[in-house]
Amino acid sequence: MTSTARRALDRVPVRLRRLLPSDLRADLRHRSGLTVPGDLAYRATPPRPAPGERTGPPDFAVLGAAAAGSRWWLSLIGDHPDVAPGHDSAAAAHFFDPYCTERFGPAEVATFHAWFPRRPGRIVGFWSPDGTAHPWVPPLLARAAPRALVVVLVRDPVERLLDGLDRTADARPAHPGSYLADAVDRGCYADQLAHLFECYPPGRVRVLQYERCVADPVGSLAATFEFLGVDPTYRARPLDPPAAAPRAAGQLDPDTLERVRDLYAHDIRALADLVPDLDLSLWPSAVAPG
């Protein structure tokens, strides 16, 4: 029934679906049992391990930030022959979503581990673009994968904000305040990293700057491979980031841009203390205008 309804819905052209407000689309999904990753009622069954594979806690995690290149970087990591595939499953990415308000015990830990099959000699990773922005995720990940190595990508927060808003404009709800607050807060990396460091020692966390990855993908990827304990000399397939579409919303006027930059000034200073090798010259937001 559900799969029939899902197939029927999939046949509805996207443009037609978007005629309905996002809140109504979500309500229809819930009533039809058509939950998707991100819905709290969504539950997926982990894949059955293939012969020769074993499951267990992920060896590494890439925790956002959203619209900061984490998916691109994960795809490059996943190209390495010593990294097991299946690392970018949306179902696994949203695994922790319901457990802010629900019990997270040994059974849930075991289910989480089942999402990470790998053959001997290979490592496997967890990816979540919400992993640092949803504060209940790092403590749960630390419980389920205490020895994981964690990679976090950060990007100029104003650029991240504007791109993030542009990419999610279709999902803007009728009540925009919480949507905008979420978008702003995702760029407050220092608050998120301070929380992450309560769950993982700083030595197990590598913070990468998106702009540096773009400028020097080979060197940055080699450093990432080295951090993850796989052969750093491996050269991944084409390294360029996905081409950025021009922002539909256009540019901010100077006064508004300054206001938005000021939102992050305190957090950027705190981030520079937490991540001493951060190169603030790569972030227009951190560079005083004119």
Binding site: D23, H94, W136, A174, S178, A181, V184
Partner: protein, 292 residues
């Protein structure tokens, strides 16, 4: 415009998102919704407009409707009937231009008659970091009010309220409910734009225990004469029905999530009495109703 009675009866039978969709089709939007027309009302013959004298900025489900009504009971406070408690005007200007025309538009939402003060209480403002700089620009002399409540109790009430109001049952809705309880983070940001002496932070639980004493503090902070409103203890807008059930293990994790922030809040607000908060005192959770 209020929908006709027959439509209201139909709406009550529908799930919240469909109620909203039908109202939107008629052009009816709530102040917090994108489609709401923020053109201010025309001032009456005896009224003038200007920046608000006070703005309640937090927190959602922290007793703010009750406290706002008590403010309006004071003869020195003016509120024109029909103008909502929560203006939400500043919600819109995160990345939108906020120049002199927008400042004037905001002022237009605050008509008052001579000899009175006026203001609003939009509890969501506290968690919207772009609002404090806008307030500093549009209402530089306003006094700001914050009612805080045990963050875990607030989370339960806030999430229950949002889901009943039609918010999608997604991790984003939960994340928003969690975010609202990081009081110290929000207050720290507020203090970057507004001096601490122009902000009064009170505790909902203390207001419940001693409404007359706490209200006297609020009136005094706003420069109002002492006044004893009738029915001071009668809370309004208390949510009906059960609240989200939290598993004990999940509750303990939420308490841990808020611990560092709550300790920082206690430093920022020395008068805070953490023994009133079950999540920090180790006490049993109390069902104290679900105010707004």
């Amino acid at each position: 415009m209020e929908p006709p009675a027959a439509l209201r009866r139909v709406l009550r039978r529908l799930p919240a998102p469909w109620q909203s969709a039908l109202l939107h089709a008629r052009g009816d939007y709530a102040p917090w919704e994108d489609g709401f027309d923020i053109t201010p009302p025309e001032p009456g013959p005896d009224e003038t407009v200007g920046p608000p004298d006070f703005v309640g900025v937090g927190v959602q489900k922290g007793g703010t409707s009750w406290w706002y009504e008590l403010l309006l009971e004071h003869p020195g406070v003016y509120a024109r009937p029909g103008i909502p408690k929560e203006r939400h005007v500043l919600t819109r200007f995160c990345t939108d231009t906020f120049g002199p025309a927008q400042v004037a538009g905001y002022h237009g939402w605050f008509p008052r008659i001579p000899g009175t003060i006026t203001g609003e209480w939009t509890p969501d403002y506290f968690a919207y970091p772009w609002v404090a700089p806008l307030l500093a620009r549009a209402a530089p002399d306003a006094r700001l009010l914050v009612l805080v409540r045990d963050p875990v109790d607030r989370f339960r009430s806030g999430l229950t309220f949002r889901l009943r109001s039609g918010a999608p049952n997604t991790s984003s809705t939960v994340a928003d409910a969690v975010r609202q309880g990081y009081y110290a983070r929000h207050l720290r940001r507020l203090y970057e734009s507004v001096p601490a002496e122009r902000v009064l932070v009170q505790q909902y639980e203390r207001c419940r225990a001693d409404p007359a004493g706490e209200l006297a503090k609020t009136y005094a902070f706003l420069g109002l004469e002492p006044f004893d409103p009738p029915e001071i203890g009668r809370e309004i807008n208390v949510s009906q029905g059960g609240k989200l059930e939290l598993d004990a293990e999940a509750r303990a994790r939420l308490t841990a999530l808020y611990r560092a922030d709550t300790m920082e809040l206690a430093e920022l607000v020395p008068s805070l009495d953490l023994s009133l908060w079950p999540s920090t005192s180790g006490g049993r959770p109390r069902d104290v109703g679900a105010p707004t």
